[in-house]
Amino acid sequence: MTARIVVGEGSCGLAAGAAAVYDALKEKLAGVDAKLGITGCVGACYLEPIVDVYDGAGALHRCVRVKPEDAGTIAGAVKSGDYASLADIAIQPEDEGFLSKQTRIALRHCGVIDPESIDEYLADDGYQALEKVLKTMTPEQVIEEIKISGLAGRGGAGFPTWFKWNAARQSKGEEKYLICNADEGDPGAFMDRAVIESDPHNLIEGMMIGAYAIGCSEAVVYVRAEYPLAIVRLTEAIKQARERGYLGKNILGTDFSCDIRIKAGAGAFVCGEETALIESLEGNRGMPRLKPPFPAEAGYWHKPSNINNVETWANVSWIINHGGAAFAAMGTENSKGTKVFAVTGKVKRGGLVEIPMGMTLRDVIFGIAGGIRDGRKFKAVQLGGPSGGCIPESLLDTVIDYKSLQATGAIMGSGGMVVMDDSTCMVGIAKFFLDFTTKESCGKCVHCRIGTKRLGEILNRIVSGEGKEGDVELLEELCNTVKAGALCGLGQSAPNPVLTTIRYFRDEYDAHIRDKKCPAKACPALLTYAIDKDKCKGCSACAKKCPVGAISGEVKKPYSIDPAKCIRCGACHNTCRFGAVTVE
């Protein structure tokens, strides 16, 4: 059997230089009996670029952090059959654990098959679920199977999927629409991008099953514009599926017809909210509508519509193939199946992690992602993006399911999991999120438009050392009112990062307000830079780097910083090789 060399070409891989690796491999493999191909993202982003080498016997030799100059080594190994020669770039056992400890359903094909080839998808049981549904099941049976599975919306709200499908099916009207929300806007979440880039047919198959169950003849995928590669791959996959009869008129020879269109978003976080998304699909400003009516009654073009996000759709074909009960066997009482998390931030091993519900946060952050890097200390994990919250170390044993996470004040959300160490200021992170929501607020309702702006301003004065006694209470009062009064989910959840950081890190707020200190030493306005006379060697490196000339001294004698001139940029601290620049 011919050896196969597969380069991981998801966005992360490409950003890490996968294209150059591919080109180098193509050159070096010229004349070698080997097949060079691509795959999507396996999720171990920290190891990119990843090259999977399958030898003649089909055994996998995974190479990581591959550089173009390693192409010769790989070509040599393939030619000689001496795969031990790959040792320098081979994946290490602890990194293998990152993948082996996961349970992959939504991501099962990601980084395994070629996303640009329908044949590879078909070879891995692709479109069998659709065939089963169309030829052997009634729409009601499909909905029942989904109900048994316990699948809930993976976009954030966690609403039972079968219920939405059923509501849309029951709604009166001939024309109904199916919508895939691929406007993955939460900063820190990228599983939907990975699914579309790495396994687009799985999304198409899931959507067609849903379309059949609900009775839709038209489906739309709303993809954010920042994901150009996803749009290219999905466009190609739709074309292939149409050619093979999995999309379009009389699918698989049945009476069922449905087609998919792609609509590219244009950059607005609020369009992740389903009614804003519908407004945007209709070519309007993405401002949320009043609910009710819910989309299931009157959505796209005011017709019954069903909206699910990418990850939700990616579970559907598996559930049909394996049965709802198999899915429901995983997870906890109130949360079934698996969930994909994008683990990023200060962890040793960052990337996509799919695990069964019921594992703890500690299992994921320390067990799979390897804990905190650079020998620092864990401080908090942010879950659910701008709508979520920060969970402290004392709650790391919280079980991952919808209810338990909500009880902490955070939310499951779309699965962004940003891990922070002791160098992250918790007031600063709250301000970061409020800056984000202020910028992304559509501006329609007062509580969100002005409320988030004012929350951000109050936080800004706290991190600038101008916080006043009573500011925390003012924040809480405003947060609670914005939650109650805002029109849509964006505004209603925007205060969560503030409320959870106050709840778990009140001492940091107090330190900023009362002592004018930032315990994480992250807020520039509250820092004082000085030079330790005993450690300073007088090398003048810091003085050369200082952008405002605040550092003076004579060579080979200790230098000093003029606090009046210092702009607290930290350049000296980053430059000093002797650890002589102190920050307080």
């Binding site: 607005a268 202020t438 509580h447 409320g451 702006k453 009064g485 805002a486």
Partner: protein, 675 residues
């Protein structure tokens, strides 16, 4: 449609299925505030003011768009709903860049609507102008002559070149109307059967009596002097305020139904208790008629007078003897009145002794200037140390020389004696115009620490049931006439509510204020203030005729046209300010960046002020849904969103010129029809 029943605020309300909570509430007489809802356009849900609580629902519901269901239990004024509503209003106001009232009106202690009457003068309508000023001030002509016009100090035109001559305009329009056969006359409410006694016929007493009479009460104004007018008549010299003007305005007050009795002094002619017993309510407005003594040796001698005592003697045509050389002590307007009166009585050398310098003088600059022109000699940085006399009569005053020290609490540099340095001035009389005191003898009312009648700041009530006190005789003591008038008009409202059985204390309403600098007004065309020419000093110092003739009609109109019209045209109609005051908001706690205040655009006959826009979208939606034009759009996103017109088609602008529906829909003063 099926009938449904729901409970709103404990009241059973019926409606039809398909109606919103708001519709049913309104049909049942329950007012739920809203800013962005209008029946003529689709539901929008932006403002969040109309939120209500529904039993069993953890969420607040937007009543404008939530359909009512049978059996719903709604609370429109629950704590959570009110909190959300209040904070929404506070947030809107924290981003609101507009002046509800012009700075002139805010600066006027009586709250007279300067901008509105100035506007009417600009339009040549003095009758309407007088009607407007008389909403808060029944003596506009007298006050027009004498007021030190704090309004002009705040006038924003002052940031361009010079403030509007508001007082002079008021004097013109009021005098113009005073003798007009067609002058405006107030309507009097039907008789209430309640009686009110007002003690003191000065500005405060006249004002309280006037407004209470107009409210239908039977009012008797009682005064110890032979004629009404108080300090206007007995404290202000004729050359500053002709007494026929005072007479005419008092006559109008009498015409409005106030009964007047003079030469009745409480405690002498009738006891306060007996007086009180005659009326349902009493207003005490007795003023401050005693001069503050100098507290220096020798002041008991003949030829030492109090400033207001001196002025009163002149008003009563029996001037106190002052001789040829007169020293007036003090730097306020009473000192100026006294020195200029002394000049007019023929004194050869009139000195003003003031312990600080000219720049610290509280008197109006014009007064100081005119006194100087008339030959008054100022002795700054001196203070009487001893009054020297012979045979019990003043012959000289020994002055301690002063210098300015450190600034005191008021920011003024306080004078300190230069040790051992004195000068002596030969004088025949000394007039002490350094302050006035209240004489509360015979009133049996609780006094404050300074011996002044104590009255509640919000109700004006004294310690006696049904006895109110206002003006110079209360709390802070003597001030300017317009301040006493302001108190009196507010007290009239409170006393009226008390007489009707439910007292409503005075509450300063919340108003939105704009911060404006000279740079903001840099594009305004400069137009000099219209000057009034005074009669030559040499001529006027020999008589008691007015110093000038005031504005002609043309001058008044020209001057009035300089007004920048800072106050909002929509103040009376604005839903935002109405709700803001209903919920007693404090937007200052959310003070922060305001959005694009400089964006002002014109659209045909509509002036757009983005600073006042609350982004309710009613104009945009009305233009789309009602007018079918689509000329307005929301531009941008989030906090920075603005509403802008966008079209090139000149036919469309003609539509705007006649349509105006957007401006009519605007709940605030952001859109103003100018044509």
């Amino acid at each position: 449609m099926n009938d449904i029943k729901l409970t709103i605020n404990g009241k059973t309300c019926s409606g039809k299925a398909g109606q919103t909570i708001l519709e049913i509430a309104r049909a049942n007489g329950i007012d739920i505030p809203t800013l962005c809802h209008d029946d003529s356009v689709a539901h929008y849900g932006a403002c969040g003011i109309c939120v209500v609580e529904a039993e069993g629902s953890p969420k607040l519901l937007r009543s404008c768009s939530t359909l009512a269901a049978d059996g719903m239990v709604i609370n429109t004024e629950g704590e959570r709903a009110v909190q959300a509503r209040k904070i929404a209003l506070e947030l809107l106001m924290s981003d609101h860049d507009g002046d509800c009232k012009g700075p002139c009106r805010l600066a006027c202690p009586a709250g007279t609507n300067c901008q509105a009457y100035v506007k009417q003068v600009a339009l040549g309508n003095t009758k309407e102008a007088v009607r407007i000023v008389k909403e808060r001030l029944p003596l506009p002509a007298s006050i027009g002559y004498v007021c030190p016009h704090p309004c002009e100090k705040e006038c924003r035109r002052g940031l361009v070149e010079e403030p509007i001559s508001i007082a002079m305009i008021k004097r013109f329009m009021s005098v113009d109307q005073l003798h007009s056969a067609d002058r405006w006359k107030p309507e009097r409410a039907p008789a209430t059967g309640k009686t009110v006694g007002v003690i003191g016929g000065g500005p405060a007493g006249l004002t309280a009596a006037y407004y209470l009479a107009l409210k239908g009460h039977d009012v008797t104004l009682t005064d110890a002097m032979p004629q009404m007018g108080g300090m206007l008549r007995y404290g202000i010299p004729q050359y500053r305020l002709p007494k026929d003007v005072v007479d005419a305005e008092i006559a109008e007050i009498a015409e409005a139904g106030v009964k007047m009795e003079n030469n009745v002094k409480i405690g002498k002619d009738i006891s306060f208790a007996d007086y009180r017993a005659k009326f349902d309510a009493v207003i005490v407005a007795i003023g401050a008629w005693s001069s503050t003594p100098l507290h220096c040796p020798g002041e008991e001698q003949q030829g030492v007078y109090g400033g207001i005592d001196f002025l009163r003697s002149v008003a009563l045509h029996d001037p106190l003897p002052i001789g040829r050389n007169v020293a007036i002590v003090g730097g306020g307007n009473t000192a100026m009145d006294a020195c200029r009166t002394a000049v007019r009585l023929g004194a050869e050398n009139v000195y003003v002794i003031y312990r600080r310098t000219q720049s610290e003088m509280p008197a109006n600059a014009e007064e100081i200037e005119e006194a100087t022109e008339e030959g008054v000699q100022f002795k700054f940085l001196t203070n009487p140390a001893e009054i020297i006399g012979e045979n019990g009569h003043v012959t000289a005053v020994k002055l301690q020389v002063m210098e300015l020290g450190e600034p005191d609490a008021s920011g003024r540099r306080s004078p300190v004696p230069v040790e051992g340095k004195f000068v002596t001035l030969a004088v025949d009389s000394v007039i002490a115009a350094i302050g006035q005191k209240v004489d509360p003898k015979g009133f049996d009312l609780a006094l404050n620490k300074r011996g002044i009648i104590a009255a509640d700041e919000a109700t004006f009530l004294t310690d006696q049931e049904g006895v109110f006190a206002v003006g110079d005789a209360t709390n802070k003591g003597a001030g300017i006439a317009i301040a006493a008038i302001g108190e009196a008009s507010k007290a009239a409202d409170v006393a009226d509510s008390w007489l009707k059985g439910h007292i409503v204390p005075y509450h300063e309403p919340f108003v939105s204020k704009r911060t404006v600098t000279a740079a903001d007004l840099a594009d305004k065309e400069k137009k000099a203030r219209v000057k009034v020419t005074n009669r030559p000093a040499e001529e006027r110092k020999h008589d008691f005729e007015p110093v000038n003739d005031g504005f002609s009609a043309a001058e008044a109109m020209e001057e009035a046209k300089r007004c920048l019209e800072c106050g909002c045209h929509d103040y009376g109609e604005c839903s935002l300010i109405k709700h803001a005051n209903r919920y007693e908001i404090h937007p200052e706690r959310f003070a922060g960046e305001k959005r694009h205040k400089d964006l002002e655009q014109k659209l045909a006959v509509i002036e757009r002020d983005q600073g006042k826009c609350i982004l309710c979208g009613l104009c945009v939606r009305t233009c789309d849904e009602v007018a079918g034009q689509g000329l307005l759009g929301l531009v941008g996103r989030g906090f920075g969103t603005v509403i802008k017109p966008e079209f090139r088609d000149s036919e469309r602008i003609k539509v705007c010129a006649t349509c105006k529906k957007c401006a009519e829909a605007c709940p605030t003063g952001a859109l103003k029809i100018i044509g």
